[in-house]
Symmetry: C2
Subunit: 356 residues, 2 copies
Amino acid sequence: MTLIPLHDYTIYVGSTLQQLTAILREKSYTQHIVLADTNTAAHCLPHLNFLASDATFSVITIPAGEQYKTIQTCQTIWQELMDRQADRRSVLINLGGGVIGDMGGFCASTFKRGIDFIQVPTTLLAQVDASVGGKLGIDFADIKNSIGLFGNPQAVIADPVFFSTLPPRELRSGLAEIIKHSLIAEAEQWASIRTIDQLDTVDWPTLVAPSVRIKQHIVAQDPFEQGLRKALNFGHTIGHAIESDALHSASPLLHGEAIAAGMICESYLSVKQAGLSQAALQEISDIIGRIYTPRAIDERRFPHLLDLMRNDKKNRNRSEINCSLLSGIGTVVVDQAVAENDIITSLQYLNTLAKN
Amino acid sequence: MTLIPLHDYTIYVGSTLQQLTAILREKSYTQHIVLADTNTAAHCLPHLNFLASDATFSVITIPAGEQYKTIQTCQTIWQELMDRQADRRSVLINLGGGVIGDMGGFCASTFKRGIDFIQVPTTLLAQVDASVGGKLGIDFADIKNSIGLFGNPQAVIADPVFFSTLPPRELRSGLAEIIKHSLIAEAEQWASIRTIDQLDTVDWPTLVAPSVRIKQHIVAQDPFEQGLRKALNFGHTIGHAIESDALHSASPLLHGEAIAAGMICESYLSVKQAGLSQAALQEISDIIGRIYTPRAIDERRFPHLLDLMRNDKKNRNRSEINCSLLSGIGTVVVDQAVAENDIITSLQYLNTLAKN
């Protein structure tokens, strides 16, 4: 078990699920309410049965999927909390992936002006990405995470016990954030990622703790995303747009799959304007391409993708699109205004790697 | 002009509207967006015409009234901000009473995880009450302010220029919070309130600054309502329930009218269990009764009122109803559990003062 103590709370990495009992006992909450989706209610909730004998224990279940990360679902959650007469000394335990963590944290932080919440991320992505940084919220008007706030949980329990319940595609998606952390801050971890061959032989927990530490180190220096933290946006300006665009298509992408594509595009832009070597781009494209097999994007979608990028929260204004780019493997430069033509070229480069 | 500098921002009391120009210039926002309701758009917005020549200036207008303080209206506001391509460096200027300030502040604090907002309260109530304390939010599931968060504006402009646009009933409503502040913290101000005869001869601004200071003094010691700040809830446990109950009736009460009734009831309870003298209760009942002329409450509504009180955010759990009560004029005791029978008796006492 690895404890990562942050300023306000602790992240428990490893076989740590039983720690919940001690945390809940110490806080003496009036109610323990689990927020799950239909998937985690079926596959993950049984791992919490050691809590279920408690009279104050209950479960709110919502439909699974990013398409339910909406203000309408928030209203369902708030209403359920009202109906159970949750008070300010109740706690919400968010059992699920990023959607459950982001939306559950947002609902808890706004219910009666804020009740405690504990994150129990059940996907690799959520353990690595959503467990640090305090970004909470929902999608609105087709823009991902466009309504939300910054707020911290009481604790994060990052236990690999849930990974056995994940489809291989979900695990692979989570790896994208670990790849990102290694590219922006730790070339050594990138070296070990280069050696990944079969996903089912990876020892995930040993990748989670260092990756969480990289993110925590960056976030601690810039909690409200004023500067340095933008390093974490590498791959996300273009990746988010690709993810949003695919959201309502016949075959939506998982977050990590979209970010993997975004990292390829933004590595291409990094060669053009941030000093990344052509050899590094080739290596990044090879490794990410081998793990994810990028999907080609119809060029007729490019104008809509640019529209989505212009609306990105990360822009200072609508007249320019900003990226965080690599100056080398392990180093990043933020606030790089990129030209729309170059973005289109980078998407065309991505398409050359696609197998279809 | 009186400046009340708080930890995070400044409240400008008096003829201070022109200060907006300097504040906006200093911050270099990308857009200046005013949130108004149909009333303030008609009557108050003309006072801001010195800003309107700015190319970045625009107005979002929503329907007036507490019944629109909903998550649906928030969605309208967020969508309008999206449509105007507001970014994180835009500012929302909330021009109106408590509804506009609370809801506009909530929408700004959650749009793209938080943009700046400036409060320009146009009612006496909002200048005295909503300008300090950081409570933002909306009504949900018939419970007032049940969804929200704590957040501070960049500045508050409390200018009496808007009072000439208010109906006398609104001004009188605002006086209730000033009365409350004097009863819980400053017996001297109570002495001057005793002398109020005609409302149109009152010099309002001279009452606003000291009242804001009382509230600020209390809030600064307890920003997240853990203890001392509960003093400000005097009159509000019962008053909020009366207000909520009347919300959907043929004749809704203004907030201050409901709180005036709540203060009479809770003063009655203060005699019973907090040491307030019978003479003080008589004086409070006389003065508040003379200003507000309480309306009788149908006894058949009492069970619903108790239901609303049980759901109050201020309770630690549903098994008890808590009030902040007076131990004397100018002193308060918090966390007083009150019996439901005593609440009913206090409502019956209120009814004996009603003229109808």
